[in-house]
């Protein structure tokens, strides 16, 4: 089962269907309002406080709900759906523990500016504040990690609130919005009127930039001898990949895309330098450090990108384009701030942009460096290397799969060895670094992209944080291809303990984890194990060819480290290059 928009009715059809004014329950209003927002798939888990909502789903044609096995799986799936489609992801959970199980997922989406509408039930309004059964103040708990939140007090408010929530979630700097619906409100009957307007005095994101600021940037580019474009997730989220390409080509400025910006610029392009930061390319990091003009387009100068702030891009004039004014100047003092939507800014900028003609030597130097020091690892025929596995996955999927990852070493190897050429193909928890995200987010990505190959690359640690969702892949035949890079250890922690904590390996041994092949088979999912290159390729090709979900466990070398590496507290030009150097 995958979301099939062909069977869904258009908004106009739905408005016509529900045009006559009708008194219906809050629950039914919720479902109708979600469909009017174009929601084609909701991920959720029922419970006491949302029973009216689930009752309204019973027999409700057109409403597509996917029952996960844990609320955390539901919200990560909604997140993967949102990141890969650009549409708002929606999930539903009950009050108390159902709601608190969403907290990690909400924080994940908030950190990476992912549009979600999160619906929770709550105890009846008469019981709120009494420590009732399964009561939790989820609005209060999630206030620091939501873009906005609502506690609905009257059913008649629901159409307005849902419409506002979708607008807030998916405009400006995107993010999760929580709607908490007490049980009595979901049962209350009121007149249903579809809501189509948004009136929010306190919310008016600046989309079009100040032209003078854009002109300042263009003049700075003409003067620059060592310019760099730092392109972040904002470029993906505003759908600006074409504008990024046009701007980079017209100005001839080398591009580095952050972890969340991967896919916003074609990896194979001669101007592309790979991603910067802690495990980024030598070329990108050196370029940033030596640049005289750093144009940040929709990135937020995260500490994993900047390394030690004092000493970051020390000679660069900084241009920062961001839709969120609070990001500008937050971490790095900015010379030319440009508030606006990346796409709108670049559309304006491309028109007046000139080739950075003073940067010829710089471009030549960067091309030379790219050739001299690409990502590298020492391959082996005895042991399976995780980098080789990722490259093999890239090759066999022709580089156009949607790839989701968990967090840790495998995430970095995936970023390094699976180059992307299109946006919304890379789903990873960058800001919060949420283990357990990789596999369920792939389910959501597959629901939103039924015709694409979706690959989930995981470690043996993170896979065990949400493996229960194998059940919904099997039951609904969601054909996600799961790769588990099993090194029997919490690899990134091991790497830090080796390099920074003097080989004091503390609580990282995952030996004794379940047999992942048996685990998958227990859920009815096809599974393979590979311990060498031949097995790996055969197993993976079989998994890809299989008409349904499949898991491949790759038993990889335990002691492998991710390089390059900038240790914490260093500037990003101080890179450990690993044993190949």
């Amino acid at each position: 089962m995958v979301a099939n928009s062909a069977t869904l009715k258009s908004k106009e059809q739905l408005i016509e269907k529900w045009g006559k004014q009708e008194v219906i329950s809050g629950s039914e209003m919720l479902l109708r309002s979600l469909l009017l927002e174009g929601v084609d798939c909701v991920f959720g888990y029922p419970g006491g406080a949302v029973l009216y909502i689930y009752d309204a789903m019973y027999g409700f044609e057109d409403f597509n709900h996917l029952l996960t096995r844990h609320e955390q799986g539901a919200i990560h799936a909604a997140d993967g759906y949102a990141r890969s489609t650009g549409k708002v992801g929606v999930c539903i959970a009950t009050s108390g523990p159902g709601a608190t199980n969403l907290v990690t997922g909400i924080a994940t989406a908030y950190m990476d500016s992912v549009p979600l509408v999160v619906i929770t039930g709550n105890v009846a309004t008469s019981l709120i504040g009494t420590d009732a059964f399964q009561e939790a103040d989820i609005v209060g708990i999630t206030m620091p990690i939501t873009k906005h939140s609502y506690l609905v007090r009257k059913a008649e408010d629901l159409p307005r609130i849902i419409h506002e929530a979708f607008h807030i979630a998916n405009s400006g700097r995107k993010g999760p919005v929580l709607i908490d619906i007490p049980k009595d409100v979901s049962n209350e009957k009121a007149l249903f009127k579809p809501h189509t307007e948004v009136k929010l005095r306190g919310y008016n994101p600046t989309v079009q930039p100040n032209k003078q600021q854009v002109d300042k940037m263009l003049r700075a580019i003409e003067q620059a001898e060592r310019p760099v474009l730092l392109v972040g997730g904002g470029a993906v989220y505003s759908g600006a990949h074409e504008e990024v390409l046009a701007f980079a080509e017209k100005t001839g400025i080398p591009v580095t895309t952050t972890l969340l910006g991967l896919g916003a610029f074609p990896s194979g392009h001669e101007l592309h330098m790979g991603f910067p930061g802690m495990h980024g390319t030598w070329t990108a990091n050196m370029a940033i450090q030596e640049s005289d003009l750093l144009v940040n387009i929709g990135a937020r100068f995260d500490d994993r990108v900047t390394g030690k702030l004092n000493g970051f891009a020390p000679n660069a004039k900084i241009v920062h384009v961001d839709i969120d004014p609070a990001e500008i100047g937050k971490n790095v003092p900015t010379d030319i701030p440009i508030v606006g939507d990346v796409k709108a800014v670049l559309q304006q900028a491309v028109a007046g942009a000139k080739y950075a003609s003073k940067a010829d030597a710089w471009r030549a130097l960067i091309a030379e460096r790219k050739a001299a020091k690409p990502f590298a690892y020492r391959d082996s025929d005895e042991e399976l290397k995780p980098q080789w596995v990722v490259s093999m996955i890239h090759e066999t999927t022709h580089g156009d799969a949607i790839v989701t990852t968990d967090v840790g070493q495998h995430q970095m190897w995936a970023a390094q060895y699976y180059p992307f050429n299109q946006p919304r193909s890379w789903v990873t928890s960058g800001g919060l670094g949420t283990m357990g995200f990789g596999f369920p987010s792939a389910i959501g990505a597959q629901m939103g992209n039924p015709d694409r190959t979706v690959v989930s690359i995981n470690g043996d640690g993170g896979m065990q944080m949400c493996s229960q969702e194998l059940a919904i892949c099997a039951i609904n035949n969601i054909p996600v291809k799961v790769a588990i890079l099993n090194n029997q250890v919490l690899g990134m922690v091991r790497q830090w303990q080796e390099l920074i904590y003097d080989n004091r390996y503390s609580h990282i041994d995952l030996a004794g984890s379940p047999d992942f092949v048996k685990l998958a088979e227990a859920y009815g999912v096809k599974a393979f194990r590979a311990t060498n290159k031949d097995e790996a390729r055969t197993a993976w090709e079989a998994a890809l060819a299989h008409d349904g979900p499949a898991v491949v466990e790759f038993v990889v070398r335990k002691g492998e480290n991710v390089y390059p590496m900038v240790t914490q507290g260093s500037t990003i030009d101080q890179m450990l290059m690993g044993d190949d150097e």
Binding site: M143, H148, G202, A326
Partner: protein
Amino acid sequence: MSTRHTIAILVNDQPGVLQRVSGLFGRRGFNIESITVGSSEEPGLSRMVIVTKGDDHTLEQIEKQLYKIIDVIKVVDIGSSPMVARELGLIKIGADPSARPEILGIVDTFRAAVVDISPNSLIVQVVGDTDKIDAMIELLKPYGIRELSRTGVTAMARGSAR
């Protein structure tokens, strides 16, 4: 350089709005010296006045972060121009009848008022800027302050309406 700033924030009068604003200050490490909330000139909107300490960078971040709260309509750094800032203090003093004339002398000088008298205590009400109330407290300390309650600063820019 860390200085004191007085910020007025116009907000939707919605449940939880105080929590949204104060929570933002807390989690971003912004300091709150005082906070006052009350209705504004427009129905449905409240005005908060927050006194905070920080350098210019912090102040800029505070303003920008506040604007990200959907229920925040407007943020004004009223301390950046001439303003009227007032708070009210209630000070309960354990005062023997013999000490009262002296206390009343201080009260008069500060144009404060005695709003409650009991056999061995009295409550002084003082209105003014923060420095005036600090000074009054200093002068009344020798008589034994039993209880002290301050409203925090509310403030407004001088001159014609913005």
